[in-house]
């Protein structure tokens, strides 16, 4: 039976980052990928932050298969026929790019090849089906009938992580799971730049909420590659189950929205994709490692719709590599020796980030998804009617905006406080109106 020092399962950004980290520390590493190429199973859902990548491969910008620079960011809010956008175009990020768009299928393949250059043995087309255990400790992996012994196994095999499940570390909590579907639509580069108002090589990256997902609390993203536009729709898996919602139908509704269709008209479908992700990660730090096994990337729950999974995955992979190196110095790979993984994680901002992401995700699950429709309606009323009231010459009492603004948050007010607060808001609104009229009468 073959034996290596470390096996990394999954050649996504996390696995490759971990393998590169291990190889640079002189640890003999095998990287096992189930796709016939790295990245074949992966779907980018939004942008790629280069903050961690930069520390691994400083010259990545010249060689990585990146598409465009994401310096034109926007938040969108949609209603059936309406659109509201908050958009930022930062000159500094165009000059010194930090965010990119990329096809994960191409990026991951390139990144795995970088691991290979560092001396990692990359095995493709092999599905790890089980882990080998001995005395309650993981001692290797099984690929069908074949077995490979290893001092330590790093699980970077994504949300459905077989390694994490088989070593008893993973429990499915579907409340934070989101299903994403995506279409990649062909459009010529000049049409994209013209339509989205972009500088050469610049990407528009927009995320948002509202129609057609407000009833289930879903989200969406739109971003541009060099010669294609990617549109993604996300919905909580629990909502799909409870409400029988079909995301593929919602995607068609989304594409038919006047604003979205103005961006993607006359385009041709290049590829249709789907993937599932866990929003908000896992901060139960005692379940990130066990004897002979470490979890990183999505397998360890390092993902969120707010913070994007690639950089956090890469960083967790690098820290796992550090932990393996530290365990090697100790000469043992039990849970105690590997527990330094968590300490290394705490030296970074990852736990704080995941805590924030999880708090936000739980807020979405428990409250915001339910109230999204009311919030969106009131937000639109506030935005549109605040313009209207400025030109409403027929109405002597044109000051309803305070009440509209209150309406956006009224769902969050405790029920017993709601009537007096509404009365107060109305009172202040009326009082303000009376006071202003009096002022105007005295002046004009």
């Amino acid at each position: 039976m073959d034996r290596v020092e470390c096996v990394v399962v999954g050649a996504g950004p996390t696995g490759s980052a971990c393998a590169i980290g291990l190889a640079r520390k002189g640890i003999e590493t095998v990287l096992v990928e189930r796709g016939s190429q790295a990245g074949e199973k992966n779907v980018a859902s939004f942008v790629l932050f280069a903050n961690v990548l930069k520390t691994i491969i400083p010259g990545f910008a010249d060689e990585a298969p990146l598409e465009r620079i994401g310096s034109d960011t926007g938040f969108l809010c949609l209603r059936k026929d309406d659109m509201m956008e908050f958009r930022a175009k930062a000159g500094v990020y165009y000059e010194n790019p930090m965010i990119y768009t990329a096809y994960r299928s191409r990026f991951d393949r390139w990144f795995a090849s970088k691991a290979e250059e560092e001396g990692v043995e990359v095995v493709r087309g092999m599905l790890v089906t089980d882990v080998l255990t001995e005395g309650g400790r993981v001692v290797g992996i099984k690929v069908g009938e074949d077995e490979l012994l290893a001092d330590v196994v790093v699980a970077a095999d994504g949300i459905h992580s077989i390694v994490a499940r088989q070593s008893g570390l993973y429990e499915d909590d579907t409340s934070r799971y989101m299903l994403g579907v995506k279409e990649v639509l062909d459009l010529p580069p000049d049409v994209i730049e013209d339509r989205f108002g972009l500088r050469p090589g610049e990407a528009a990256v927009k995320d948002g909420w509202g129609y057609p997902m407000s009833d289930v609390g879903g989200l969406f993203t739109i971003y541009t590659n060099n010669d294609s536009v990617s549109i993604c729709l996300f919905a909580p898996v629990d909502a799909l189950k409870a409400k029988g919602v079909s995301l593929r139908d919602r995607l068609e509704d989304f594409k038919a929205h006047p604003y979205v269709s103005s961006l993607i008209k006359e385009s041709r479908l290049r590829e249709y994709e789907a993937h599932i992700l866990a929003d908000g990660g896992r901060i139960k730090t005692d379940r990130l490692y066990s004897g002979g096994v470490l979890l990183c990337g999505e397998a360890g729950g390092f993902n969120s719709t707010m913070w994007i999974g690639v950089p956090s995955g890469m960083l967790s992979g690098l820290k796992a590599a550090d932990a393996v190196a530290a365990a090697k110095r100790l000469g043992r790979y039990d849970a105690d020796a590997l527990s330094c993984y968590v300490d290394y994680l705490y030296e970074t901002g990852l736990p704080r980030m995941l805590y924030n992401a999880r708090t936000f995700s739980d807020f979405m699950v428990k409250s915001a998804r339910r109230h999204m429709e009311t919030f969106t309606d009131n937000l639109f009323d506030f935005m549109t009617e605040s313009i209207l009231e400025e030109v409403n010459f027929f109405e002597p009492e044109p000051y309803p905006s305070l009440e509209k603004a209150y309406g956006m948050f009224s769902d969050y007010v405790p029920r017993w406080l709601e009537p007096p607060l509404r009365l107060l808001v109305r009172g202040v609104s009326k009082l303000g109106s009376w006071y202003k009229k009096r002022k105007i009468r005295r002046t004009v």
Binding site: R34, G35, S36, Q37, G39, E40, K41, N42, V43, A44, Y103, R104, S105, R124, G125, M126, L127, V143, G144, I159, H160, I162, D172, T174, Y177, L179, V181, E183, V184, S228, V237, L240, K241, A242, G244, V245, S246, L247, R248, D249, E252, K255, A256, S261, K265, L269, R270, E271, Y272, E273, A274, H275, I276
Partner: protein, 96 residues
């Protein structure tokens, strides 16, 4: 535009698959007729699960599976057992 909703097979025709002989999805179909809501029919992004009214039975094909794994989480009766296809098989995104 969008006069007509494109059929799912038109979309799946754009996706590359290395189809395995062995199915990576198995369903305990006998429990399906009594299933509340049958969320797999609507939730699967590839529309791999359909209902045959004549036989009152679930029909599924694993060949067009995009490997999101949603079905393993949404089946109310835990009748769907989904796993990854064997190494090298299954969906192969070129523009993922």
């Amino acid at each position: 535009m969008a006069d007509r909703k494109p059929r799912i097979d038109e979309k799946l025709a754009r996706v590359a698959f290395n189809i395995d002989r062995e199915a990576h999805i198995t369903v305990a179909k006998e429990s399906c007729p009594g299933c509340p809501g049958r969320p797999c029919l609507s939730a699967c992004p590839a529309e791999n699960y359909t209902w045959n009214d004549e036989n009152d039975a679930l029909v599924f094909n694993y060949e067009g599976c995009m490997e999101c794994g949603t079905c393993r989480f949404i089946c109310p009766l835990d009748a769907i057992s989904w796993s990854y296809p064997r190494g090298g098989f299954g969906v192969a995104y070129r523009w993922g």
